[in-house]
């Protein structure tokens, strides 16, 4: 046992000291932080300049004053000006752009042009088209000569928002957010995929390194091959956990620093809604598009927050750790076996495929799971050990019956023993084989060697 810990320590220390590890660990948080910070910056720097837009209608005045001014955009309705008069010099006249509404608008909806020097923000376009659509609808309705049309329109103006409530058999309910569940499913599934792959192949490269520089023979005259293999797998797992922990800490630190030092107060208030959940971020950002948070949006946030709180966090964290460790162990031992069977990294390809396919299949099914968590495809893939770490992580935010989780985890544990045993057999023979290219037939023989 003491020898395994020596091996683990060496694997851990040499990797953690590597320049590439240090650079990756320090740089990646910047990337992560950028993912959070860029939307904040975009939001806070959204074109706040006051804009004036000239509206020109040719041959009618149907839409005069139809588009209301917004906080930072005024619409000026120019009468008797032709498009060609202003087209080339609107900028000099102090206009941001010219909105040209052709007389055919009622029949041809694309008879509108916004001419500007810069790409107009999407919010502005929505504002214009929304206002015009409403007016055109109104005009069309008017043509039917309905009495009290205004009143009717006012009363039929509704907005629908679905509240999702999950009820378990005992009848207790909790409010959930499908958005958050999806985001968690995505995050869990994808992270699992990334980690298993990244650190699994790190193990493989380590095995190949030891084999190609022939140190393996020296070491296995002191320790058993299986000890060397397990030591490496565990050492790399610890490297992975270290890197992961550092990424989280550094990213949070960076986001906080950037937030407090660069962003204006207004943006900060908006962003304070964010930490409540990663998942809320998308919606919060969309909601915060308008520069003040309305009461409605605030309750939206509260709901999101409540939805996030109502996720089965304990289960999610427990399963994440469980599936990370077991999934990693499963794939890392397969990768170690592959590494032992080849002489260099380019030769790994023929054996990589059967190992990579389940991982990628898992990821694809996990993505589908977000749309339909209850499908039988998702069910089976979350039970089968090769794909279960990824797919089950994507299913858990949508509530999975306990027996399914237990079955999946149980199968996983059994499979790991099988995989480690198998990998150890291949590894033991493989690391001492040089020179000839290994075939699947040969791998099978190694599996059946005695002693």
């Amino acid at each position: 046992m003491n020898k395994i810990s020596l091996i683990i320590r060496r694997e851990y220390i040499t990797r953690v000291r590597k320049k590439s590890f240090i650079i990756m660990t320090l740089l990646t948080p910047f990337l992560f932080a950028l993912i959070f910070i860029i939307p904040m910056l975009v939001m806070s720097n959204e074109d706040k300049n006051f804009k004036k837009i000239a509206v020109i209608e040719e041959g009618s005045d149907l839409f005069t004053n139809v588009i209301p001014d917004t906080k930072d955009t005024d619409f000026e309705y120019l009468q008797g000006v032709r498009l060609n008069d202003i087209k080339n010099n609107f900028s000099e006249m102090g206009y941001y752009g010219v909105l040209y509404i052709s007389p055919q608008i009622v029949t041809t909806p694309d008879a509108i042009q916004l001419i500007s020097r810069k790409q107009p923000p999407i919010g502005l376009l929505d504002h214009i088209s929304g206002s015009l659509e409403k007016e055109i609808e109104k005009q069309k309705l008017l043509a039917y000569n309905i009495e009290n049309l205004d009143e009717i329109l006012h009363t039929i103006n509704t907005s629908v928002r679905i509240q999702t409530i999950k009820m378990d058999e005992s009848g207790s309910t909790r409010e959930t957010s499908t958005g958050i569940s999806m985001a968690l499913a995505y995050l869990g599934g994808f992270l699992m995929y990334m980690l298993v792959f990244m650190f699994g192949s790190m193990v493989m490269r380590g095995v190949i390194e030891e084999k190609t520089n022939r140190i393996v023979e020296v070491i296995i005259s002191s320790v058993k091959p299986v000890q060397l293999m397990l030591g490496k797998i565990i050492g790399v797992a610890l490297v992975g956990l270290t890197q992961f922990a550092l990424w989280i800490v550094l990213t949070l630190a960076l986001v906080i620093v950037v937030k407090s030092s660069f962003l204006p107060d207004g943006a900060m208030e908006q962003m304070q809604q964010l930490p409540q959940s990663f998942a809320g971020a998308d919606q919060a950002m969309a909601g915060a598009g308008a520069s003040t948070i309305s009461a409605e949006q605030l309750t939206e946030f509260q709901k999101l927050f409540a939805g996030a709180l109502n996720q089965p966090w304990g289960l999610i964290i427990f399963s994440f750790i469980f599936y990370f460790l077991t999934g990693y162990l499963l794939y890392a031992s397969l990768f170690a076996a592959i590494g032992s069977a080849v002489d260099n990294e380019t030769e790994t390809q023929q054996f990589m495929l059967p190992v990579t396919i389940p991982i990628i299949l898992g990821l694809i099914v996990a993505m589908g799971t977000m749309q339909n968590p209850e499908s039988s495809l998702s069910f089976w893939f979350s039970i089968i050990p090769l794909t279960s770490p990824i797919v089950m992580m994507a299913r858990i935010p949508f509530d999975v019956p306990a027996w399914e989780i237990a079955l999946s985890m149980g199968l996983m544990l059994i499979t790991i023993f099988g995989a480690v045993w198998m990998a150890a057999k291949i590894y033991r023979t493989g690391i001492l084989m040089y020179g000839k290219k290994t075939s699947y037939k040969e791998l099978w023989k190694w599996l059946t060697y005695k002693g």
Binding site: N213, R214, I215, E217
Partner: protein, 308 residues
């Protein structure tokens, strides 16, 4: 007493037999040569001794009892295909390998310092392996092999990559280790160093032992009853019923004559004939070199095998 013994060890791989009932017996505190052409099964035998692989049948004894897993602490192995972690520092790496052999950190440090000083590489402690020359790497590897003071040392081609000065230094260290009680199994193709170092040898060919015994005895056994005689001045003895002259050279005032005794040749008679022929400077039986024996034995065997 034999420190190490292998009895009827057989190991088969899927398509070939690597060792076919091979037995060796290595006396304590001797240097034992394990010889054989490439692919004869030497490496497999060494791996079995190291318990890297297990034999299909046969028994392995160390110190008179069956070998045990924790005997790895009593064995030091310098493989032919050597390797160290290229990016690790020399000292760190030596320390790691020593600890894997069961030495404590403090004890490993103490011994490493001693050996690094002795082999004059103390200045390399903090260098990475990849910055070292091949010979330097070999020295580091030699140290890691002997550091835990094992009773049994296995050196597979220990001199490749060394310059003559370092070869001499390592030879001295090997003899020194034997003096201090170590038993050494020495595998090589360099027959010169076999004559110089080995007390006993086993010659393995195609999974079988074909020659075995002490180096002295083998060379005498294989001697073809030939003698080298050196005379002062130009002398050519004439052959008689006891011997025939094979060749004779005159150079720098001395004659070097090689003769072969006949079946009924009597050594005393031969000597008499020599002293009668001229002034004898030296008279030696011409022992074949291990190199000649190796080639003759292996070739004879292979011819026989081809006939069958």
């Amino acid at each position: 007493m034999a420190l190490f013994e292998a009895q009827n060890v057989t190991k088969r791989f899927a398509t070939q037999t690597a060792l076919d009932s091979v037995s060796i017996s290595v006396p304590e505190q001797s240097i034992y040569g394990l010889l054989g052409p490439n692919g004869a099964g030497k490496t497999t035998l060494i791996r079995i001794i190291n318990q890297i692989t297990a034999p299909d049948s046969g028994a392995i004894f160390l110190n008179g009892r069956p070998i045990r897993p924790d005997d790895v602490h009593n064995i030091g192995y310098l493989p032919e295909e050597r390797g160290l972690y290229k990016k690790m520092k020399v000292g760190e790496q030596a320390l790691y390998l020593a600890q894997l052999k069961g030495l404590s950190h403090a004890e490993a440090m103490r011994r490493l310092k001693y050996w690094f000083k002795k082999l004059e590489i103390i200045g390399w402690w903090d260098k990475k392996i990849q910055e070292l020359s091949k010979g330097m790497q070999q020295k580091v590897q030699f140290i890691t092999t002997v550091l835990h003071e094992p009773k049994l040392l296995i050196f597979d081609e220990p001199f490749t990559g060394f310059d003559p000065i370092n070869v001499k230094q390592i030879k001295e260290e090997i003899l020194f280790l034997r003096e201090r009680g170590a038993t050494i199994i020495f595998s090589t193709h360099n027959m010169g160093s076999v004559e110089e170092l080995c007390d006993h040898i086993t010659l393995i060919n195609k999974a079988n032992t074909i020659l075995e015994g002490s180096v002295e005895k083998i060379r005498r056994d294989w001697a073809a009853n030939e003698f080298n005689i050196i005379f002062d001045g130009e002398v050519t003895p004439a052959g008689n019923g006891h011997f025939s002259v094979l060749n004779s050279d005159f150079e720098a005032g001395k004659s070097v004559v090689r003769i072969k005794a006949t079946e009924s040749g009597d050594t005393n008679e031969i000597i008499k004939a020599m002293t009668a022929a001229g002034k004898v400077v030296s008279f030696n039986p011409a022992l074949p070199s291990m190199n000649e024996i190796f080639i003759r034995v292996v070739e004879t065997r292979n011819r026989e095998a081809a006939k069958n």
